[in-house]
């Protein structure tokens, strides 16, 4: 079971109040997590990755086990603590005022 922490705006959009738990088949990668997240919460399509091309939206980053994995290959395996659910996979929006 994978645990995903969403920014507050996306939690409200998805209609959840806490962390999201996902079951994945196959290798646990950023790509696989985002696919599973969007399959379960279709209203998040286009909010993390662009519809066209699938690029990450520029003010978002991804963290795993305290490491910034934003610029790691999308299909790179994530740490075992993410795979086991011991540590959450963070989707974080840039801090900004206003």
């Amino acid at each position: 079971m994978i645990v995903v922490v969403l920014p507050a705006h996306l939690r409200s959009l998805a209609g959840v109040t806490g962390d999201v738990e996902l079951e994945l088949d196959g290798p646990v990668t950023r790509h696989a997590i985002l696919d599973a997240l969007e399959a379960r919460f279709p209203m998040l399509r286009g909010t993390i990755r662009e519809h066209v091309g699938g690029q990450r939206r520029p003010l978002l980053r991804f963290f795993a086990c305290g490491e910034d994995v934003t610029h790691e290959p999308a299909d790179a395996p994530l740490p075992e603590a993410i795979v086991s659910g011991a540590e959450p996979f963070y989707i974080i929006g840039a801090i900004a005022g206003g």
Partner: protein, 395 residues
Amino acid sequence: MSNVRVLVGTRKGAFILTADGKREKWDVSGPHFAGWEIYHMKGSSVDPNRIYASQNSGWFGQIIQRSDDGGKTWFQPGTPAGAPTTSPEGMPMGESNKFVYDTSEETGKPLLTHQWYDGTPHPWEFKRVWHLEPSLDDADTVFAGIEDAALFRSTNGGQTWQELPGLRGHGTGSQWQPGAGGLCLHTILLDPANRDRMVIAISAAGAFRTDDGGATWKPINRGLRSQYIPDPDAEVGHCVHHVAMNPSRSNVLFMQKHWDVMRSDDAGDSWHEVSGNLPTDFGFVIDVHAHEPETIYVVPIKSDSEHYPPDGKLRVYRSRTGGNEWEALTNGLPQENCYVNVLRDAMAVDSLDKCGVYFGTTGGQVYGSADAGDTWAPIVRDLPPVLSVEVQTLK
């Protein structure tokens, strides 16, 4: 008795203000979509309980919301072809936020770039929906004006969107440049007398018209003069801020441009200036009285860099002569130390016997007048900065 519903989009959510026909006591509902920018909300004239909303975030992009019960509840209307209509949790499926430019040879032209601020080619990039305009005939058909400027249409209640590519592809699209607010298509006027006619406006390209339901378009900027561009009389490149018309006389258009208030008596084929005695002819909003097609309203704003009312006095100016002769409307509006702005889609009128006029400010006030502008009162004072105001008159 009739009721009035005012739809207010702000930087941090949507608010719905309702009152009976006296327009004295108001109920305030909101914030809906708290924390998100709501660029625009508009109800269908066919089914007033059908309201569309453009929800946006610099972080998370565009969302389209729809209400079928007058704004009490909302949902994202998208459903991909062949997909289940709900997620395992019962939430609606969605691709209603998917706006993809048409670059196909078959239906449009492979227009890949417009001009950037420095004149270099820049790829078209979808950023947000500025304006939603429901069809006059079908509650499920709605038009969206987007940034970077293009016109999209949904015929299934906002579930999916297709570009009307003839606008960007008509010939001048590659020359369009953004204004300071972006290359935005912010105004969509549907002609009730001619269902094939539509007028749109883009900052900073100008105004455009179709006479065949959106298939082909032409610039309608003859008579506009913009000192800040190399050719002040150019076919395109004018920073049109807003265009308005009275539905009973749709060939007469009124325009608030970056500078100059303009009028056309031939559906935009030609324009002439009607700024007259305004204290400044810069501003963003313009609207027309619901029953008096020669009565128009603007809010003069000091510019180029200040963007607040001259002398710190918030004044709506009304012309009862279709322009040129203007009177300041100040009763109930702050006349000292007021330095707010009124953005381009933040004024609207109702259609009650005594026309109501409403506008919202970047200071979070929404002012209303139940007597065509003679007197004003704040409906709410402390909302987030107001981006848009629309009004529904409910029988």
